[in-house]
Amino acid sequence: MNCHLCGQDFLPVWTLSNVWTRQTLCPTCKIEFVKRGECEGCEDCGKPGPPLCPDCQNWRNQGRRLVTHPLFLYQTQAKAFMKRYKFLGDTALLDVFKTELKKVKVKQDWIVPIPLSPERLGERRFNQAELIARMMRGRVRLVLERTDGVAFSHQTRHERLERDNPYHVIQPVTGKTILLVDDVYTTGITLHQAASRLYEAGAKEISAVTLFRSV
């Protein structure tokens, strides 16, 4: 069997507990993905380090708390994954995280992926956050829309924080509990902007899940 990520041939280890799962990663790639432990690091964003990181302290001071659960840390192999998945467009690669995403307990009413701008969507032709959301067990609703088209990855932290909120809500969300989904949590500005729009539209409670947390 070939590893989905590095293409190396490997022999999967079958046990009674995993005969029905599809093994897609070779052992060397698998150990490179560092799972974020449940109770270590920042309790709001999952950043390794003190129990409350300065960024989240800042958000709390502004009265905008958003609890985010990243599944993995954004390190060497995770970067290779994102390069292939998002920028080269290898969407089948997401199967690698299928079991992890299925395990996420969703108690919220709706799962809402962070949208892409129409220009970017036309270029990439899929929304990476939406695919992650559709792999989880829950109802996916596309209630957000993005208007401007500034590329994410090429901005500095300062530029990101200064930017106006590009999101707006296109469906009524009054009284709903919502789980936001994104691919990588870096500064948290994206998720906080989306969350504030949803709160304005009357959402009851919002939390978030991301695949990776950059360190």
Binding site: R84, L88, G89, D90, T91, A92, L121, G122, R125, F126, L131
Partner: protein
């Protein structure tokens, strides 16, 4: 943008083309570019969109994309003559065989030992091809070999346009009278080369990857002549008509590897000290072993550098090694295509994971220049493997055949 002889996705066209272009679907039941089976993936165009995972790094191809080519014929090739060559009579014989093959549009395997001077033997054949209006491709699985061949050919052919293609090369999608390319880059070309030389046919990954064979087949025009070059051809390639050259260009025999079974680490240190005045190459079986050996040699007060396939400074390190008389620890990536004057070679743990072809190629690094025709090759091992004895046997037989 000239698209004649190329086949690229339509979104790659950056400058307008004023010609009737030919479009075809990019992904049908298979990927039309690399021939592998596609995978289903979400897309704006609908639910039944497939894309190819195998040639993803050359740009994503979906069912809703199109491949585009320009069906007009290519420009005629400019005739060119190579600069003065002094081939030995053996080399001349091989060169004549290559010319005959090109005239007959046939296939040929040139089985010549390491250091036999394969590159200059090609020049008369290339000259004949250019003079009879045929486009020449020299392809090889290794990018290092592409760089080295480009240097030789630009010196030999002054008039012809020479394009060299490898990952990260500036001349992307170029097509010259003589094109030198890695086998991977041929994915963008269709039916445009009339004479194809494949250097180091048995090198990794061409040896195992059948898709690369497909790329080469698709890039060759119908009725093209195919000339394979290797020092250690596989049995499959040896079914082709073969010419053999078992003698190096300077007339000295191939150095025969010595065995040292068993060995201790002290033996390695002693060996390194005896050859202190010359550059020394140490081959190790795995990337992981590089570091352990490096730290060990450091403890012994011997400085050395390491190089492996994923090393970003690989090219500069090898270039630096050429200048000095240092020690370079390497994996099998340097087994071919490097010529270093006066180099001494040791293979550490030669019984582990080295194939006989790899060991023959490694032994062939030694004594390639006419100034230093001899040198020391040692296989350090703690056990015996068939590959070691096969390699030694093969080298001895080659020497016997070359000096009959």
């Amino acid at each position: 943008m000239d698209l004649r002889g190329r086949l690229i996705p339509d979104y790659r066209i950056d400058t307008p083309v004023d010609a009737p272009l030919e479009y075809r679907p990019a992904v049908t039941w298979r990927c039309e570019r690399c021939g592998k089976l596609p995978t289903r993936g979400p897309c704006m165009c609908g639910k039944r969109c497939y894309y190819c995972r195998h040639c993803l790094i050359f740009g994503k191809l979906r069912t809703c994309d199109r491949l585009v080519t320009d069906p007009r014929p290519l420009d005629p090739v400019r005739p060119d003559y190579h600069t003065e060559l002094n081939l030995t009579s053996d080399q001349q014989w091989i060169a004549d065989a290559i010319i005959r093959t090109i005239d007959q549009q046939a296939k040929l395997l040139v089985h010549a030992v390491c250091g036999a001077g394969k590159t200059p033997m090609l020049f008369p054949g290339i000259e004949r091809a250019l003079c009879t209006n045929r486009r020449v491709l020299i392809t090889t699985p290794r990018a290092d070999v592409v760089r080295e061949l480009t240097g030789h050919l630009t010196q030999a052919f002054q008039q012809a346009t020479i394009v060299s293609l490898f990952g990260g090369s500036a001349e992307r999608l170029g097509l010259g009278d003589i094109t030198i390319s890695t086998t991977h880059q041929l994915i963008h070309y269709r039916a445009c080369f009339d004479v194809v030389f494949i250097d180091e046919v048995d090198a990794f990954p061409y040896r195992t990857d059948r898709t690369l064979h497909r790329y080469v087949r698709q890039a060759t025009a119908p009725g093209a002549s195919l000339i394979l070059l290797s020092a250690t051809p596989s049995l499959r390639d040896q079914r082709l008509p073969t010419v053999r050259l078992m003698r190096r260009y300077h007339g000295f025999p191939l150095p025969i590897p010595r065995l040292q079974i068993p060995y201790t680490k002290q033996d390695i240190v002693d060996w390194l000290r005896t050859h202190a005045t010359q550059p020394r190459l140490l081959f190790v079986p795995q990337v992981a072993a590089l570091e352990t050996w490096q730290t060990f040699l450091h403890q012994q007060g011997i400085g050395c550098e390491t190089v492996h396939a994923a090393d970003p400074d690989r090219v500069t390190k090898v270039a630096r090694f050429r200048q000095t008389t240092g020690i370079l620890l390497t994996t099998t990536i340097l087994e071919r295509g490097v010529t270093l004057a006066g180099v001494q070679v040791a293979v550490l743990d030669a019984d582990q994971s080295f194939s006989s072809a790899a060991l023959i190629q490694i032994s062939g690094r030694v004594g390639r220049s006419a100034d230093f025709p001899e040198g020391d090759v040692v296989f350090f091992a703690n056990d015996r493997s068939d590959a070691m004895y096969e390699a030694i046997d093969h080298i001895k037989r080659a020497n016997r055949e070359g000096f009959r």
